[in-house]
């Protein structure tokens, strides 16, 4: 198509503007900021199944950011520290069971915490209909071979597959604290806790954006 020479700069400017506009329209500044607030990977712990314990997994491993594997739900289970405020260690080998609002339950052993307590489920494995009920299963105190319910979330998950979106430390008016296996139900003989330094330090997302702080 031939345009008069005098119009060409204008067309170029409009074209560039449109391209920038389309590019900007594809981003979500709120999510971008939430992702940026998670910070860099910790030294010695590059992207891997054990990285970023405590942080909201689906924020990156969801359809917006697109990190693989794509998760519908993910989080970290810790062992309750011996002393309040003590270090949180990931709880390996615990099973997470989900019950969705259509009555579907995740199959036994589908979602199990890894060596640093991280767990996740992909859409191919289980596509939940919210709201969800969540339970943690693990070895019983009396018989380590017997898997029993350790705890159940007292409320439901309404829409956010990242446990770390709500469960952050410390326990506060905005957070019920990290997801933990209560110390009273923790069978130390049946679970090999990670040695110090084997897992990244747990980190959490800010529970309230600065702009909303009272």
């Amino acid at each position: 198509m031939n345009h008069p020479r005098s119009l060409r700069p204008l067309i170029a400017i409009v074209g560039v503007g449109l391209a920038l506009g389309v590019a900007a329209a594809c981003t979500d500044p709120l999510r971008d900021r939430q992702i940026a607030e998670l910070g860099e990977e910790q030294d010695g712990f590059p992207e891997s199944p054990i990285h970023r314990p405590g942080q909201p997994c689906v924020l990156c491993h969801g359809d917006y950011f697109g990190a693989e594997p794509q998760m519908v739900l993910g989080g970290t289970v810790f062992v309750e520290p011996e002393e309040p405020g003590g270090p949180l260690l990931g709880a390996p080998g615990y099973e997470i069971r989900l019950l969705d609002s259509q009555g579907r339950i995740t199959s036994e052993g589908l979602i199990t915490t890894n060596e640093c307590g991280n767990f996740w489920v992909t859409e191919e494995q289980f596509k939940p209909a919210y709201p969800l009920r969540v339970e943690i299963y693990g070895p019983s105190l009396s018989d380590p071979d017997r898997i029993v319910q350790i705890s159940a979330m007292s409320t439901r998950i309404g829409r956010d597959g990242s446990c770390g979106s709500c469960h952050a430390e410390p326990l506060s008016p905005l957070s019920p604290g990290a997801v933990v296996v209560p110390r009273a139900l923790f069978n130390a003989d049946a679970v090999d806790l990670p040695a110090p330094g084997d897992c990244p330090e747990p980190r959490y997302r800010p529970t309230v954006p600065e702009s909303l702080a009272p």
């Binding site: 709201p131 007292s154 409320t155 956010d160 326990l171 506060s172 008016p173 905005l174 604290g177």
Partner: protein, 198 residues
């Protein structure tokens, strides 16, 4: 009209519209939702005496931290298992909040939290809520009913079933036992909804 004249003229029109926007049909929330302390004489708001049971249902269904138990979302719902109504001191000092039980999963929902929830429900569409209370509009016309019934798009999905205990609990309270809704009493209906998870 030149730009020099157009800008002040536009500002004038915008200002006038802004002032007018405050006037017609926009009764202050206080007029419809009642004063902070409910006054049964004025009958301008749904009863607050039965509200704790309604609140229990809303806290369970709507008030999780990832939904309406969030500072960032409209229809804010406070509750023992979700967002707490905290003071600035408690916000800045988690240990103080823990000591006071003002933490998610801490002590039971307080009366101040119940009242804040009642005002959330009442204040999201104050004019329409007033019409429902006066029997001029069916409760299903309110967003607080449309969303959980999925009559209107709702990110959290369907939380109530039409005619189910959850919907009856809320309708029953909003209309103070209307003839067209089969409800014995608010507390019974809401207890039923909580018990049956419906």
């Amino acid at each position: 009209m030149t730009m020099r004249r157009l800008i002040p003229a536009s500002l004038l029109v915008a200002g006038a519209l802004g002032v007018l926007g405050c006037e017609p049909g926009s009764e202050p929330i206080e007029a419809l939702c009642g004063p902070f302390e409910y006054d049964p004489e004025t009958q301008t708001a749904p009863d607050s005496d039965d509200f704790p049971k309604v609140s229990s249902l809303l806290e369970r269904r709507c008030g999780t931290l990832d939904c309406h138990g969030s500072l960032a979302r409209p229809l804010r719902i406070y509750g023992a298992g979700g967002l707490r109504l905290f003071t600035l001191e408690e916000y800045n000092d988690a240990a103080l909040a823990q000591e006071n039980g003002t933490v998610s999963g801490g002590s039971g929902t307080t009366s101040a939290e119940h009242e804040a929830n009642r005002r959330s429900i009442c204040g999201i569409e104050p004019e329409l809520t007033g019409e429902v209370i006066r029997g001029e509009l069916p409760p299903e016309e309110l967003m607080v009913m449309k969303k959980p019934l999925l009559i209107e798009r709702h990110k959290g999905g369907a939380l109530f079933q039409t005619g189910g205990p959850g919907a009856v609990c809320l309708s029953c309270w909003l209309r103070s036992f209307p003839d067209d809704i089969d409800c014995q009493d608010v507390v019974t209906e809401c207890q039923k909804a909580i018990r049956d998870n419906l």
